[in-house]
């Protein structure tokens, strides 16, 4: 079974990031790493390919400056190859612009049975790319997978809900978004790291994909970031002095919140 995993390379959350005041977007000139949210999709894909008795896992990523560090991490985990789309014209792309680019790249992967994504990226967090991608590829979309099984051309997904999960089935190929934390991503071994060095990374521009620059980047963005504000500081809590009625006060407080 051949699986495509869309992976985003993002600024290392461990290093303090900064916003470009002009564009109000995250500065991405630093070294980028594999978005942790995507490591679950990579792990899921590797497990599914294993369970199917073979097949390739192909990574697709759109990133500035031909950045490959994050891709190398996923290749070191065991993915076979990668497609990287990098083009100055892509700066400022919104979610839909990104989905157009990823969709065009995925179309180049022959015989893709399943396309996996994260539910949302850790930096941009729009959470809309997977569905847009499915629409552009004209494929079924299943979201928030916590478990995936494939048999006889059908994907069976446990779709996470607030209360538990729904069992969902759809024919392949399909686009499935994988919830963070549902599998334990493997650590790349040193051998994996060394092998990743020589795995193919196909570096493309939008011209290679036949995409018109006016469709993507700042030019094609239908979305504009008007302002970025600090999250409001959390309000200080309410303090009850226990004068013998502490328990009742707590119960009343929780009832008021409708949590009990």
């Amino acid at each position: 079974m051949n699986i495509v995993v869309c992976v985003k390379q993002i600024p290392d959350p461990a290093e303090p990031g900064s916003l470009d005041p002009g564009t109000k977007t995250l500065k991405r000139a630093t070294k980028l790493i594999l978005d942790e949210s995507d490591s679950y999709g990579v792990e899921m894909a590797l497990q599914l390919a294993d369970a199917a008795g073979g097949g390739e896992v192909t990574l697709v990523s759109m990133a500035p400056n031909n950045e490959v560090s994050g891709l190398r991490t996923a290749l070191a985990m065991g993915a076979a190859k990668a497609i990287l789309i990098s083009d100055p014209a892509l700066a400022g792309s919104d979610a839909l612009g990104t989905a157009k680019v990823l969709a065009a790249a995925i179309k180049r992967v022959e015989g893709a049975d399943l396309i996996l994504t994260a539910t949302e990226s850790s930096d941009g967090y729009t959470g809309t790319v997977p569905e847009q991608l499915a629409e552009l590829l004209d494929l079924p979309s299943v979201t928030f997978a916590k478990h995936i099984e494939v048999s006889d051309g059908v994907v069976k997904v446990q779709r996470q809900t607030e209360a538990g999960y729904d069992d969902v089935e759809c024919p392949l190929p399909a686009v499935v978004s994988v919830t963070a934390g549902v599998v334990e991503p493997r650590y790349p071994s040193f051998k994996g790291i060394m092998a990743a060095k020589s795995k193919p990374v196909d570096q493309l521009t939008i011209a290679d994909l036949g995409i018109d620059p006016s469709q993507v980047g700042w030019a094609g963005a239908g979305q504009e970031i008007v302002s970025v504000e600090q999250a409001p500081a959390r309000e200080s809590g309410e303090i009850f002095e226990d004068d013998g009625t502490g328990a009742e006060k707590i119960v009343a407080f929780l009832e008021n919140l409708k949590v009990i």
Partner: protein
């Protein structure tokens, strides 16, 4: 300028750092408290490939150099010295003698499991009455020519990784005769479980509580004659060569300790409030942190300089001794000062720098004491020191 590491070495650093944060840091305090050798975690480090890093791929190794091993050990030591020394000793003292001096059949037999971390090797040089003066070895091995076996009698002291559930071999040094009136020392591989080879109960140590250390006794312990490692009578020269490489790895461990102290103190000096202000506003505290940064930088230069010389096939004996001497003494100073910055919390076992303080003293003793390093350096300088 920083030492430039390759992309792959940087990638390994990140993997080991993530691994140490997720798989070691949350448990290290309990392992230390309860003196647990976490065999599952050791196996996981094996799956990462850490135990095989400097050995060729044909034996299941990573085909990298000592520099790459240093990167991994440095990262582990930032979080837990016991796991760092388990890797250092497993690679440097367990597998390295087999690789460096073993015949092809010995390499084929023992290295793949050692490289994969499925098994651990140990190196038994020190005896109750022979440490720095390892030439005073009393353990004897006599060849029973009719049986084609060595018969080993004697005792070893303080042997790392010698009694774990996955220990497969201990390479020991023993007197196998005399040549020119002097005892002739050879190295012999003793598989775990050989009758007559007994692992004594673990020591009660000051630190390194999650690392495995035992005394070993040999009573008419028989191993096949072909378990001789390297040339008969060359055991002394062999372990000196092995220790030169091990010293660089120990220095890398010490570097990780200093970096840990620096990171912890940078944070704590800003967080901890006394007299209404962060303790780091006092020069007496801030300057200690500045000194930690200098120690880390010096240790880093010495460690990677020595590792590079070794990987380039150049002489590195003096540089290895200098790296070990400086980095381990700096680690003891760094942990003592970090403990001071943490105040009372620094004396409490569950504080990371407290554990690092207890764990650090051995660094100035094992694999050649500081005095022995000074001796090596003096000799390399051509001084007539005895």
């Amino acid at each position: 300028m920083e030492f430039e590491l390759t992309d792959e070495q940087e990638a390994l650093r990140k993997v080991v750092r993530d691994f140490a944060q997720a798989e070691i840091a949350p448990y290290a305090e309990a392992w230390d408290r309860d003196h647990i050798f976490p065999v599952d975690t050791v196996r996981k480090m094996g799956e990462l490939g850490l135990f095989g890093l400097p050995f060729p791929e044909e034996y299941g190794g990573g085909g990298a150099g000592l520099t790459t091993l240093c990167v991994a050990i440095e990262e582990l030591a930032r979080v837990d010295q016991s796991m760092a020394i388990t890797v250092e000793a497993g690679v440097g003292l367990g597998a390295n003698p087999i690789y460096t001096f073993g015949r092809e059949d010995q390499r084929q037999r023992w290295l793949p499991d050692l490289c994969a971390g499925r098994a651990l090797g140990a190196f038994g040089l020190t005896e109750p009455d022979a440490g720095s003066d390892a030439g005073a070895t009393r353990t004897r091995a006599e060849l029973d020519t009719s049986a084609g076996e060595w018969i080993i009698n004697g005792e070893k002291a303080f042997i790392t990784n010698s009694g774990t559930p996955i220990t497969s071999i201990v390479t020991i040094t023993a007197v196998t005769g005399t040549s020119g009136g002097r005892p002739e020392i050879s190295a012999i591989v003793v598989p775990a479980g050989t009758p007559g080879f007994e692992v004594q109960p673990p020591y009660r140590k000051m630190g390194w509580h999650a690392s495995d250390t035992h005394g070993l006794t040999f009573t008419d312990c028989r191993v096949p004659a072909d378990h001789l490692l390297g040339e008969q009578g060359r055991g002394f020269a062999q372990f000196l060569a092995i220790l030169d490489e091990g010293r660089i790895a120990i220095a890398a461990l010490a570097l990780g300790v200093i970096e840990c102290c620096l990171a912890e103190c940078q944070r704590y000096a800003k967080e901890r409030i006394a007299f209404g202000r962060a303790i780091g506003t006092n020069q007496a505290v801030a300057f200690k942190v500045a000194d930690l940064a200098v120690m880390a930088a010096c240790a880093r230069s010495l460690v990677y300089q020595a590792a590079r010389l070794r990987d380039a096939g150049r002489p590195f004996k003096k540089e290895a001794a200098m790296a070990k001497l400086y980095a381990t003494e700096a680690a003891v100073t760094a942990t003592r000062e970090a403990t001071q910055i943490f105040g009372g919390y620094g004396f409490i076992d569950e504080t990371l720098v407290a554990r690092q303080y207890r764990d650090s003293k051995i660094l100035e003793i094992g694999e050649g004491t500081s005095e022995i390093q000074r001796l090596v350096i003096s000799r390399e300088l051509g001084l007539p020191v005895t």
